[in-house]
Symmetry: C2
Subunit: 315 residues, 2 copies
């Protein structure tokens, strides 16, 4: 491979001058600039990006930790992040964690090793205490709210959105509701339980199923809910695909939505539009865009993204 020294030699100038040409520095005699460019062209030379990143100490690359790479919510976040990164000429490296603490640390180590200028954590397995020291090595932005001042946040007030959704159900005359969540130990699940308690009081046994991700999970969850002795009249699903599965199960039992069963979904996904499901749209694409914007600006601001409830025909 030809490098900057070869170019300098062949063009009869110093490497400094070649570097100046490469970086469009003003003060280079035009004849020298010409001949350098000519040699670059002839030798088909491209500067080595690793050398540049090494000396500049930055890579214009952002790492994005996502637990699952086949999950529509994280796809929405990633979509927003990519859009913003493209605008500002940053690269995005996707870091799937499967909620493994070790994998997560491995990725944070890569921030420390100068591979990324910053990291966006869409969801995490480790404690903040473990993560925060790494904010010394690059900007870290979270898609979940945290008090810690070292971490920028682009977040949703989920507690409030859950409160609103449950209130909507209560207003329609339901005295309880079943619901699904993703990970049992997540912050989001905690907020869900709190919001439920706030609106409906005690949760009837069997009214909460966790680890739901996809349409099939929703189908199974609905089956379980509807086999309970006190079957729920309303269900909140943590995603429209999950809600879609519930809808299908209800249909298979000759139940009508919303007459026999009310379903409310989340994230405004295509299947929800298709089935006319009412949904709580947390606008994850916007959350992603904002997160990316914060990490690029090395900002530690806390930015709340508004959610909205899209009422369709399932409530």
């Amino acid at each position: 491979m030809t490098n900057i020294n070869d170019i300098a030699r062949l063009a009869g100038v110093s490497v400094s001058t070649v570097s100046r040409v490469l970086n469009n520095y003003k003060y280079v005699a035009s004849n020298k600039r010409e001949s350098v460019l000519k040699v670059i062209e002839e030798m088909n030379y491209t500067p080595n990006k690793n050398a540049i990143d090494l000396i500049r100490g930055e890579t214009r690359t952002i790492g994005v930790i996502i637990p699952y790479n086949n999950n529509p919510s994280f796809d929405q976040l990633l979509n927003g992040i990519l859009t913003k990164a493209l605008e500002d000429d940053f690269l995005i490296t996707v870091l799937p964690s499967k909620y493994s603490k070790e994998k997560e640390m491995e990725y944070l180590e890569k921030l420390k090793s100068k591979l990324f200028d910053g990291i966006i954590i869409t969801s995490r397995a480790n404690d903040w205490e473990t993560i925060i020291p790494y904010s010394n090595y690059g900007s870290i932005v979270s898609c979940e709210y945290t008090e810690h001042t070292e971490i920028g946040c682009s977040y949703i007030d989920r507690y409030s959105s859950f409160l609103n959704a449950f209130q909507l159900l209560k207003n329609k005359g339901h005295r309880a509701a079943a619901f699904t969540t993703a990970r049992l130990e997540s912050n989001s699940t905690k907020q869900m339980l709190d919001a439920y308690n706030q609106i409906f009081g005690e949760l009837p046994p069997g009214y909460h199923i966790s680890d739901c991700q996809c349409l099939e999970d929703g189908y199974e969850a609905a089956k379980q809910f509807l086999q309970l002795p006190e079957r729920p009249t309303a269900i909140y699903a943590n995603g429209d695909e999950v809600a879609g599965g519930m809808y299908l199960y209800a249909k298979s039992q000759q139940m009508k939505v919303p007459a026999d069963l009310v379903i409310i979904g989340q994230e405004n996904q295509p299947v929800g539009i298709g089935l006319g499901l009412t949904t709580v749209d947390h606008q994850l694409t916007k959350v992603g865009e904002q997160a990316c914007s914060l990490v690029i600006k090395k900002s530690r601001k806390k930015v709340k993204i508004p959610y909205r409830i899209l009422e369709r025909d399932s409530v």
Copy 2:
């Protein structure tokens, strides 16, 4: 920042020895190894990955060119790629192109500049002639078939799948079918037109609408199709989300699927499962996995991934 020289000095050894410890080289006296590790611990040292990549000449990072980052088909491909990359400890950088030739070249230049060990092209804007020279700088794998021996391929025989889908419709008694595609100038569209011609002969005017991506596009397409003087009895949609939109439009017109209108979708997406749409599943996740596997192995093989038709209730 502390570097390998600092560690060497503080541990009273040479940088070579520190490097040996770092890379678990066998022949290091255990007492020296201990003291090096101790200093590394104390100084909270992490080697600079850019320096390592520079000298090793490889990054264990693969770039993935995708035209759209909010498209379910490309999400499926990416999903497969990420799964395989995680297994083999490679990183994935997502490179959105929007089918811009310039952006694409920019990304290929990054391969040349040693930022990536290889590139996966899920779909392209440039000619192969323009792309191929870059295969000298790293392995390039395409998710579309090409004769060029420089390029590895993990591909689907779309012509065959379209042939099969149209034959299915013909067998059910349809004498023509309308269909949607993504980009008009894509290879896939060409194959579609050829397959149509093979099965049904000449395409009735207005029976092909391009640039369809999402549910809303499908809704609009169905509207246009069903307003034609000779309205089609069957439609092939380039994606289940598009098909979902068609389904919705048909419903809005009090039409029954499949009695009044037959719809066949593509890629086995959640909305299709939800609506019970028959679909041509090209198994894009597998295509992605295979593509990633090829690029990691620097293989130029041509691997055909089998498709399958999932018959549900819309045909």
